[in-house]
């Protein structure tokens, strides 16, 4: 027989109609391998259809379901009940939306606002390198790719930006900075000047206090801080 946990979820809620914010407690029993998205779905069916929460792929590839669990930004789709109990040493969890973007309702935030930072970092090759005559594709050795490949795994879940001690204020944020750093390191990008202007601007990487919280919370286990450190050194 599988173990049963008696859970208490204290969820930060917000109703845009009345602008009322409150904390609501849900109690439910769960086996060890239900995920927090499964718990939310169960709350909708069994207790309260009005609770709004975000998700899409539900296997850590889209970064839509980021929430704060006991103050730690995490993906609700890969947080198993058993692991949460072990990680926090409790069966009571405070669930709150991310603070990097305005809340629309309950746990759903305005991703458009969060993504404005990523868009400012121009997440594309601004000016692609011309291919040498006779070549139909660029050659990039596995070793060269390996230098920045980890940064390309970023799914913009904004957990790093949430944990970052600087990004709520003037810093463009770890994930947005990384979007530009990758393209500094990618030989196919020729527009390096414009990228440097952003990275070394008022909202650029020198706002980073090197707490390395970004690396610590990244669900994809990307060492975000190491990329920012490279950029600070100019070691693209």
């Amino acid at each position: 027989m599988s173990k049963i946990y008696s859970l208490t979820l204290v969820v930060q809620r917000y109703d845009p109609d009345t602008s009322r914010a409150w904390r609501q407690t849900y109690k439910l029993e769960s086996g060890p391998i239900l995920r927090f998205v499964d718990l939310f779905r169960r709350i909708n069916v069994e207790q309260d259809a009005t609770l709004a929460w975000a998700s899409s792929c539900e296997h850590a590839q889209c970064g839509s379901c980021s929430i704060n669990v006991n103050g730690r930004p995490m993906l609700a789709c890969e947080l198993l009940v058993e692991n949460a109990v072990n990680l926090f040493g409790t069966t009571e969890f405070n669930i709150a939306p991310l603070s990097v973007a305005p809340v629309i309702r309950d746990l759903v935030v305005d991703w458009d606002k969060a993504y404005e930072r990523v868009h400012r970092a121009k997440p594309y090759i601004i000016k692609p390198k011309e291919l040498p005559p006779g070549m139909s594709e660029n050659r990039i050795s596995p070793g060269e790719l390996a230098r920045y490949e980890d940064a390309t795994r970023c799914i913009n879940c904004f957990c790093c930006a949430e944990a970052c001690i600087s990004s709520n204020r003037n810093f463009i944020g770890p994930n947005a900075a990384m979007a530009s750093i990758v393209r500094m390191m990618d030989r196919r990008e020729t527009e390096k000047e414009e990228r440097l202007d952003l990275l070394y601007s008022e909202e650029g990487i020198y706002r980073c206090h090197t707490s390395q919280a970004c690396s610590h919370v990244c669900p994809k286990k990307i060492d975000v801080a190491s990329f920012i450190a490279l950029a600070k050194e100019g070691a693209f």
């Binding site: 060890p32 709004a52 899409s56 792929c57 997440p123 660029n138 990039i140």
Partner: protein, 598 residues
């Protein structure tokens, strides 16, 4: 909801793209490159294009490299034709296969991070069903970005559309398509974030709304894949094609439903039932666990149906085990690293020491909105609907026939995305016809109905019951009685749904209201899948009828199905294009109707 629902605003653009996944944004990027001054609106249901389902595709994208002396477009065309159980349209197969490498180059120059070989060239790998010389040997045909090829494609197409200046409307769904004298002139949208309805007038409208996997309980599809575009098409009086062609992967991981790749079995993993019996020996004495996907899926389902499955107590899902414990440390740590990490992440299981739970999982909808080879939508008479295009999983051209080969979906969405972009440009009308009088009234009436409904039914519960029922009765196995019962159940669910009151009154991010609308879409999709499956008294590709286990030439056609009122069905047929065979060119005999035997 108190306030009367109304159309909040009316927008206009040149091209309206509904669904900003890989297919929709490939079309957007093409249009920007060729006509930078056109105004494109790209609408997506998810919170941002990068959150699209395209991002979840793992393994690779098939494309024949013209510099590769061992491979040939004809081989890829053959694999696709045979894999689709001789039900693909050959003109479409030819076009998509021949357009593949150009797309690889397009993305490579725009920043996709393809995995590379030692010389720095794009790496290629083998995938099931892809062969050279018409089945003689394995083909190295799939380019890939590690285990996240879809993400690479999504990031690249999104980046290019953004760079080109497309305007994005995120967290927004299409509720109605607008017509004026038979031409599509735009659509009605509902912005879930702000709770606003709007009409958009467009000179071309592209539907790229993705799949409908949420019809089934166990699925690899994301939460948003509720077949919205297909339901909207049905309500417009247009048909769907081959709705019964639904693919199930044999080994989804219990919990998230995501794929535990075929590699588990090719590396020596053994499927076992609750008595620990290696049951594949009974179903496929020679190939055992390496038997083709559909045979493995049916064997697992049989074990579960006959009481030899295991119930996962947390998810309440029945499954069998895959035993990987005997495999070497190298296989676990290197070859199966990714899948092994899924079992750890989602089941807290160490695949080196513990049995892992798997079962068949819904994966892909081959059927969809019927289009020609340019992505132009057709009505039930086969005529083009001017101004309306469909591309990606929501569309059916048909490239995949009744069974899709791995790595062919990413190929399709790029080649057809580009093609739809080109076609939309060449068909743009000078003078935009106005939206019809009363545009959006049907949508407002529909949503007012939801908002005003009274009763104690629960939308989430009905959705759950429907998904369980469809998995059981119209899933891997189908038979006359089971489908008849399913249709009766769907009718009952539809009636129950009308008695679900919505407690959230304000329209902004009203998840209850959105899910109520999604439930209607899911029920429409489920009904067409069930009706198509009932009509098709044969087995073809992924559509398997226990009572008619063989393919029958009598059914050598595409199903067309229309349903303006729930449950009231009318059927039509579309011929399967066999133009490659008919042209009698080199190797044309490989494009005859043949048995799908491997």
């Amino acid at each position: 909801m108190g306030k009367k629902l109304q159309i909040h605003s009316a927008l206009a653009c040149d091209v309206l793209i509904i669904g900003a996944g890989g297919a929709g944004l490939r079309a957007a990027a093409l249009i920007h490159e060729q006509s930078p001054d056109l105004k494109i609106l790209a609408v997506t249901k998810v919170a941002h294009p990068q959150k699209s389902h395209t991002s979840t595709a793992q393994g690779g994208m098939a494309a024949v490299d013209p510099h590769d002396k061992t491979d040939n477009a004809l081989y890829h065309m053959f694999d696709t034709w045979k894999g689709g159980d001789c039900s693909s349209d050959q003109n479409v197969v030819k076009k998509i296969v021949e357009g593949g490498w150009e797309e690889v180059q397009w993305m490579e120059r725009r920043g996709i991070h393809f995995s590379r070989d030692e010389g720095g060239s794009i790496s290629k790998r083998q995938f099931g069903g892809h062969t050279v010389e018409f089945g003689k040997g394995d083909a190295l045909r799939a380019v890939f970005e590690a285990d996240r090829t879809g993400k690479g494609i999504m990031d690249t197409t999104w980046g290019e559309a953004l760079k080109g200046g497309a305007e994005f409307i995120n967290s927004t769904v299409v509720t109605e398509i607008l017509f004026n004298e038979g031409c599509c002139v735009g659509a009605v949208l509902f912005k879930t974030k702000t709770g606003e309805f709007l009409t958009v007038q467009a000179r071309a409208t592209v539907l790229a709304t993705g799949g409908s996997g949420q019809v089934f309980r166990i699925t690899t599809n994301c939460r948003n894949n509720t077949g919205d575009g297909l339901a909207v098409i049905l309500r417009a009086g247009l048909p769907l094609m081959d709705p019964e062609a639904v693919q199930f992967h044999p080994t989804g991981i219990v919990g998230p439903g995501i794929l535990a790749s075929e590699a588990l079995r090719s590396e020596g993993g053994i499927l076992r039932n609750k008595d620990m019996e290696p049951f594949m020996e009974r179903y496929a004495p020679k190939m055992k666990d390496l038997a083709p996907r559909d045979i493995v899926a049916r064997s697992i389902e049989t074990e579960i149906r006959e009481g030899r499955g295991i119930m996962n107590p947390d998810h309440r899902i029945e499954h069998v085990w895959i035993d990987l414990r005997h495999l070497s440390a190298y296989v676990h740590e290197v070859k199966l690293k990714e899948v092994a990490s899924f079992f750890q992440t989602y089941c807290n299981l160490n695949s080196r020491a513990q049995l892992c739970p798997v079962r068949p999982s819904n994966h892909y909808h081959m059927g969809g909105i019927p289009t020609n080879e340019h992505g132009e939508v057709q009505n039930s008479a086969g005529e083009i609907v001017p101004g309306l295009f469909a591309v990606g999983e929501c569309a059916c051209a048909s490239f995949h026939g009744f069974n899709r080969l791995g790595t062919n979906s990413l190929l399709e969405l790029l080649v057809m995305g580009r093609s739809v972009g080109e076609r939309a440009l060449s068909c743009l009308k000078e003078n935009q016809a106005p939206a019809p009088k009363g545009a959006g009234e049907a949508t407002l009436a529909q949503f007012a109905n939801y908002a005003e409904a009274q009763g104690k039914e629960n939308v989430g519960l009905i959705r759950k019951e429907m998904r369980d029922m469809m998995t059981r009765q119209v899933g891997v196995f189908r038979n006359e009685q089971g489908i008849q019962d399913a249709i009766a159940s769907l009718t009952d669910f539809k009636q129950r749904a009308a008695r679900a009151a919505i407690a959230t009154k304000d329209l902004r991010m009203n998840q209850e209201l959105l899910e109520r609308w999604e439930l209607d879409n899911l029920l429409d999709n489920a009904m067409t899948i069930a009706q198509g499956a009932l009509m098709r008294k044969e087995s073809r590709g992924a559509h398997f009828r226990e009572d008619y286990p063989d393919r029958s030439d009598e059914f050598h056609f595409h199903t067309l199905i229309s349903m303006t009122d729930f449950g009231k069905i009318s059927f039509g047929k579309r011929l399967i294009d066999m133009s490659v065979f008919a042209a009698k060119g080199e190797h044309y005999e490989q494009f005859r109707i043949m048995p799908r035997k491997y």
